[in-house]
Amino acid sequence: MSELSFDATQKLPARRHVRALDAVVLTLLMLALWQAIGSWTHGVAVSPPLQTLVYLAHLLGTAMFWDHAAATLEAFLLAFVLSALIGLVLGLIFGIRRFAGEVAEPILAGFYTIPKVTLYPVVLLLFGLGMSAKVAFGVMHGLVPMTLFTLGAVRNLPPVLLRTARVLRLSPGRTMRWVLVPACLPDIVNGLRLSFSLSLLGVLIGEMFSSQRGLGFLLVSGMAQNNVPLSTAVVTVIVMIAIAANTLMLRVGRRFARRSA
C-alpha cells in the first residue's frame, strides 16, 4: 500500500490563510455537488445535505439507531483489537525471523489483494450468522496490513539496535517491549490506521450481506424500504467517523515520526 509522505513544509502565515480558504471552498464545493445530485434526482437516490442533517438529528434521538450503532461498534472494536494485537505479534516475529518473513510475506500480500468478499459465505458457514462471523471477517481485512507494516518496520530497523539488545542480554519479551516497539512506532501507527479502516470495512460488508443488526444492515434496509434519508444519513455518519479517526491517527503518527527522527 503506497502512502503519502508529508514533507514538513514551512508554514508561512499567508500560505496558511490560503490553505484555510481553499479548505472552506472545497467543503462548499462538495456540499454543492451533494446538493446538486440530491435535487437533480429529486431525492430518489441521495437526500440533500440539509435534509440529511435534519433527519440525522432526529435519527440520533432514537433508541433504534443506537442499538444498531452499538452492534457495529462492538463487532468493529473486537475485530480491530484482535487484528492489531495478532498483527503486531506476527509482524514482529516475521520481522526478526528473516526467513519466516520471506516465506510469509508473499502469502500475506497475495491475501491482501484478493477479493475477500468471496470468502464471506465460508466465514458464515464456519461461524454461523451473527457477531462472530462479522468479527472474523473484520479480522480477515484488518490483520494483514497490520502484519505487513510491522514486518516492514522491523526489517528496516538499523541492525545496531538489535545488537545492542543482544549485548544487554534482553529477553525476547523485553527486546520487543523496549527496543522493537518503540523503534517501529511510526510504522505501527500507520499499520493501525490501515487496519482500523479495513476492519471497519469488513464488519460493514458483513452486516450488509446478511445480518439483522448494525449500521451496514441499517444502510441496506434503508435502501430496501426506499427510505433515502435513512441510507444517506447512515453513510454520512460512517464517513464522518472514518475521517475523524483517520485524521487523529495521522496526527499521532506524524508526532511519533518527528520524535524518532
Binding site: I114, V220, G222
Partner: protein, 253 residues
C-alpha cells in the same frame, strides 16, 4: 538468490501441505463437508461449471466491468495526478483528501450508486473507479515527486522541449511508481466490482457466489469462489513478479 529460492520452496510446501491436510480432513470426516468442500471437489466443481458454459455470461459481465473500471481509473488518475502536481495550491487541498481517502469504506456508497444509476454495469463501474482511481493519483504523484532534480536540470541543459522532457526523462523516471499504482488499481477494481456484485446485483461472478450460498448449493459456490480467487491470484501474481523484475533491472542501473 538461493535464499529466495529456498523461501519459495518452503512457501510452496506449506501451502501444498495445508491443501493436502484439508483434503485428508474432508475425506476422513474430520471436517464437515457440509461446511468446507475437499479441494479436489472444489476443482472438479469449477471445471464442471466452466466446461458446461453456465459461467460464460457471468465471466464476460464481470471481467468487462472490471476492465472498463480499471482503464477509466487509470485514465482519470494519470490525468488528475499531473494536474495536482503542477499546482501547489491544488496540492495543498488534495494531499489531506488523498491521505484519508482510503480510510472511508468507499463500498458503503454502493447502495446509493445503485439507487442513482440503476442496477447494472454503471454503478459497479463507478464503484470500481472510486476504489481504484485515487491509488493511481497517489502513485502518479509519488512518481512525479521522485524525479530527481538533477534529471530536470539535465533536460534543461539539453534544451529539451516539454514533450521530449516528458517522454525521455519524466516518464522513465516515474514508471516504477506508476506501475505500482496500476497494480493496486487492478486489485482494487477487482475487489470493488466483485464485492458490489456479491452484495447487490443480478449478474456476474460475485452474484453467482452469493446466489449459490443463498440456495445452499455449496458445491457450485466453492467452484465459482475458487475460480474468482485463482484469477485474482494469478493476475496479481503476474504483476507482482513483473514489478519485481522492473525494480531489479532499475537497481542494476
Amino acid at each position: 538468490m538461493t535464499r529466495r529460492h529456498a523461501a519459495l520452496i518452503v512457501r510452496t510446501a506449506i501451502l501444498a501441505s495445508l491443501i493436502a491436510l484439508l483434503e485428508i480432513g474432508c475425506r476422513f470426516g474430520v471436517i464437515d463437508t457440509l461446511t468446507v468442500l475437499a479441494p479436489s471437489d472444489m476443482v472438479a466443481s469449477m471445471v464442471d461449471q466452466i466446461r458446461s458454459g453456465e459461467l460464460d455470461a457471468s465471466i464476460a459481465t464481470t471481467f468487462s466491468t472490471i476492465l472498463i473500471a480499471f482503464v477509466l481509473a487509470i485514465l482519470l488518475g494519470t490525468a488528475i495526478g499531473p494536474l495536482i502536481h503542477r499546482f501547489a495550491r491544488l496540492r495543498d487541498v488534495a494531499d489531506p483528501l488523498l491521505a484519508s481517502y482510503y480510510s472511508v469504506p468507499t463500498f458503503i456508497f454502493y447502495p446509493l450508486l445503485v439507487a442513482l444509476l440503476g442496477l447494472g454495469k454503471a454503478p459497479l463501474v463507478v464503484l470500481g473507479i472510486l476504489s481504484a482511481a485515487p491509488a493511481v493519483v497517489i502513485s502518479t504523484l509519488a512518481g512525479l515527486d521522485g524525479v530527481a532534480p538533477v534529471l530536470m536540470k539535465l533536460a534543461r541543459v539539453h534544451r529539451l522541449t516539454p514533450a521530449r522532457t516528458f517522454m525521455w526523462i519524466v516518464l522513465p523516471a516515474a514508471l516504477p511508481h506508476l506501475f505500482t499504482g496500476f497494480k493496486l488499481a487492478l486489485s482494487y477494481a477487482l475487489i470493488g466490482v466483485i464485492a458490489g456484485e456479491f452484495i447487490l446485483s443480478g449478474t456476474g461472478l460475485g452474484y453467482a457466489i452469493s446466489f449459490a450460498y443463498q440456495s445452499f448449493d455449496n458445491r457450485a459456490m466453492y467452484g465459482v469462489m475458487l475460480f474468482v480467487l485463482l484469477v485474482a491470484v494469478i493476475a496479481n501474481g503476474i504483476l507482482y513478479v513483473w514489478e519485481g523484475r522492473l525494480a531489479r533491472r532499475r537497481s542494476r542501473g
